[in-house]
């Protein structure tokens, strides 16, 4: 069965304190791995798609990387507006059409 595990469940950072969020996955084959940001009361907002090990994507203070077993979302010099829940999802090759999501990392960045 396809599984996605995100850690930590919650993370509190000071403004400017860089860190990484982890997404570990178990799938028979990977079609794509997705990162989303979700603010309270809103739907997930697409951030990145990664397709193969070694791939990296960047957007402002965020950088996503992918290995054969996990993905990291690196946050460099975060700001309070980066506070949100970050979700990881996988689209397996043999898993039909569904995206399997992790339960997310709730990030809070304080001044």
């Amino acid at each position: 069965e396809d599984q996605v595990t995100q850690s930590p469940e919650a993370l509190r950072l000071q403004e400017g304190e860089s860190s990484s969020l982890n997404c570990s996955y178990t799938v028979s084959g990977l079609r794509g791995l997705f990162w989303y940001r979700q603010d309270p009361g809103k739907g997930p907002e697409f951030l990145f798609t990664l397709y193969s090990a070694g791939e990296e994507k960047e957007k402002e203070r965020l950088k996503a990387t992918l290995t054969k077993k996990e993905s990291f979302l690196h946050i460099t010099a975060p700001k309070p507006e980066d506070s949100a829940t970050y979700l990881c999802a996988v689209h397996p090759t043999g898993g039909g059409n569904k995206l399997t999501f992790g339960t997310g990392t709730q990030l809070k960045v304080e001044l």
């Binding site: 996605v4 079609r31 794509g32 997705f34 989303y36 809103k42 739907g43 997930p44 907002e45 697409f46 798609t49 397709y51 979700l87 999802a89 689209h91 039909g96 059409n97 569904k98 995206l99 399997t100 999501f101 992790g102 339960t103 997310g104």
Partner: protein
């Protein structure tokens, strides 16, 4: 519209009543997903539509849940005889076909409360 639109944004219903939730996907997106998000839980897959193909209903939790997609665009999720455990946020997403590498873009969700 520019994004995925869902209505209503909030719905309170009495136990045992039927509800309909609507999703208007991004124009040109042929794939459409419904997910459910309960408090503190991850997103739970419900159903997937792709073009004119038979939908993937493997995530529907019971036969009280059904969904249709008319004309390959707007979708309606129907929950019959609602129960308190149906209370959750129902999220719709659309994308280009998965084989093209398209990401799923989500609407704002419908918060359903069954009292």
């Amino acid at each position: 519209g520019a994004g995925v639109s869902q209505s209503p944004s909030n719905k309170v219903t009495e136990k045992g009543k039927d509800v309909e939730l609507r999703c208007d996907p991004i124009s040109g997106h042929t794939a459409l997903y419904w997910y459910r998000q309960s408090l503190g839980q991850g997103l739970e897959f419900l159903i997937y539509f792709q073009g004119n193909s038979a939908p993937d209903k493997s995530g529907l939790p019971s036969d009280r849940f059904s969904a249709e997609r008319t004309g390959g665009s707007v979708s309606t999720l129907t929950i019959q005889r609602t129960q308190q455990e149906d209370s959750a946020v129902y999220l719709c997403a659309s994308s280009t076909p998965p084989g093209t590498g398209g990401a799923a873009f989500f609407g704002q969700g419908t918060r359903l409360t069954v009292v």
